[in-house]
């Protein structure tokens, strides 16, 4: 019965498949076309968990930002809890890719994420009363140039630890 029905409905299924691809294209190309142009497509694509933008390495940039999390003690001394390059203390993220890219980027771009991770880092050292999130910015070397050791550091926020 299902096979027979599928055969009969082929034109309708083909039409729906075509409509789906139009919707996905309208959604995915929205930033290039100034769209979405067809009302509702974006909402439908997102609602079924198929949102997509495909902007991998769109702008590699000439700068590289990483986040450092510094713990501040009562005597105002600082201790590096999480390096921008790799984890210093366990438990932090075991997998380098998660640590270096997935979370680093979000810590620097999103205030709520920054606060969440700063508060989580409080648990890495019992003497720490606050955590300071520092953006470490490095200039990438142009072709033929050596890598500069200079790093520019700016404080993104300081968060008191709940005790």
């Amino acid at each position: 019965v299902v096979e027979g029905l599928t055969q009969r409905l082929r034109p309708l299924i083909a039409l729906l498949c075509g409509a789906w691809m139009v919707a996905v294209t309208d959604h995915a190309f929205a930033d290039l076309t100034g769209g979405p142009w067809i009302p509702g497509t974006d909402a439908v694509v997102r609602a079924v968990g198929m949102r997509q933008s495909w902007e991998m390495f769109r702008n590699p940039g000439r700068l590289e930002d990483t986040a450092e999390l510094w713990g501040l003690r009562v005597d105002r001394s600082g201790v590096l809890l999480v390096s921008g390059r790799r984890p210093l203390a366990e438990p932090w993220l075991s997998w380098p890719y998660d640590h270096r890219n997935k979370i680093q980027r979000r810590i620097l771009s999103n205030e709520a994420v920054r606060e969440r991770w700063a508060l989580a880092a409080c648990g890495l050292d019992p003497d720490v009363v606050a955590v300071r999130v520092v953006r470490e910015r490095a200039q990438l070397p142009a072709p033929g140039e050596p890598r500069s050791p200079k790093r520019k550091r700016t404080t993104e926020g300081t968060y008191p630890c709940p005790r």
Binding site: R10, V48, S53, N59, P143, R147
Partner: protein, 254 residues
């Protein structure tokens, strides 16, 4: 109308059971690559191990072809839940697994190399064949979009994008500074050829160009994966090629 009939028939290709099985197993392997390392940090990333643990069990069952019509969609839904729990966790490779996984888990992938096949729990291969077409078209859309979006960027126009991508220490697998210092021409060739490949990927529909296009893509993603830590992205992209790669006729192998 014959033309319309042909057009509608195009959406219903004949499915090759081994291709479907490779899509299933490949997706499960890629999902494991994405999930296992993060499972080690489940309390940090997701507040507990339950959802990611459940996703891993479902992925393992789906990869083995056990109750695929349940375990595949379940694994995909749990993957979505993980992204909802922690949107910071999602990157390009995860998007590839999410989007193309959705098409895969709904296909009848259990006909061969599966527990379901041994138990006789298989669906006819004539069902949902259009999902393979959606998979293939979405893959073309991915490449064309990612190519077009780069075109206006000066670093891509000047041929410097590969140089600066390789200079990102957060992505480097091995220190590449010595190579970067002396390879401006290489960067230009690789940057521009990447753009040509991405925008030209739809040539994969032309039978004569299919194998060269897929080999070029394989070279691109293998080199990215070898030189840069981009998580599951390289493996996931290579997996998507299963939808296009010509499979040898099993009779010719015997």
């Amino acid at each position: 109308v014959p033309a319309l009939t042909r057009l509608s028939d195009w959406w219903f290709p004949e499915l090759e059971p081994r291709r479907l099985a490779l899509l299933r197993i490949g997706w499960a392997v890629c999902m494991a690559v994405a999930l296992v390392p993060s499972a080690l940090d489940a309390s940090w990333l997701f507040g507990g191990p339950w959802v990611i643990g459940g996703a891993l069990v479902a992925v393992a069952a789906y990869g083995a072809g056990l109750a695929t019509r349940v375990t595949g969609p379940l694994a995909w839904v749990l993957f979505q839940v993980l992204h909802a729990q922690n949107p910071d966790w999602s990157t390009g490779g995860d998007s590839v697994l999410r989007v193309f996984g959705a098409y895969t888990v709904l296909m009848p992938t259990e006909a061969v190399w599966s527990v379901d096949a041994r138990l006789g729990w298989t669906r006819p291969l004539t069902r949902r064949t259009w999902l393979l077409r959606l998979f293939q078209l979405n893959l073309c859309l991915l490449y064309v979009k990612t190519g077009l979006v780069k075109l206006p960027n000066p670093l891509w126009q000047q041929g410097l994008a590969v140089h600066y991508s390789l200079a990102l220490q957060g992505h480097q697998r091995i220190p590449l500074d010595a190579l970067l210092g002396s390879a401006a021409v290489v960067s230009k060739v690789l940057t521009w050829s990447t753009l040509v490949f991405e925008v030209g990927f739809p040539l994969v529909w032309w039978r004569r160009a299919r194998v060269p296009v897929l080999i070029a893509g394989l070279a691109l993603h293998l080199s990215i994966g070898a030189l840069m830590d981009v998580g599951v992205f390289s493996v996931a992209m290579i997996w998507t090629y299963v939808a296009f790669v010509p499979l040898p006729d099993p009779k010719s192998l015997t």
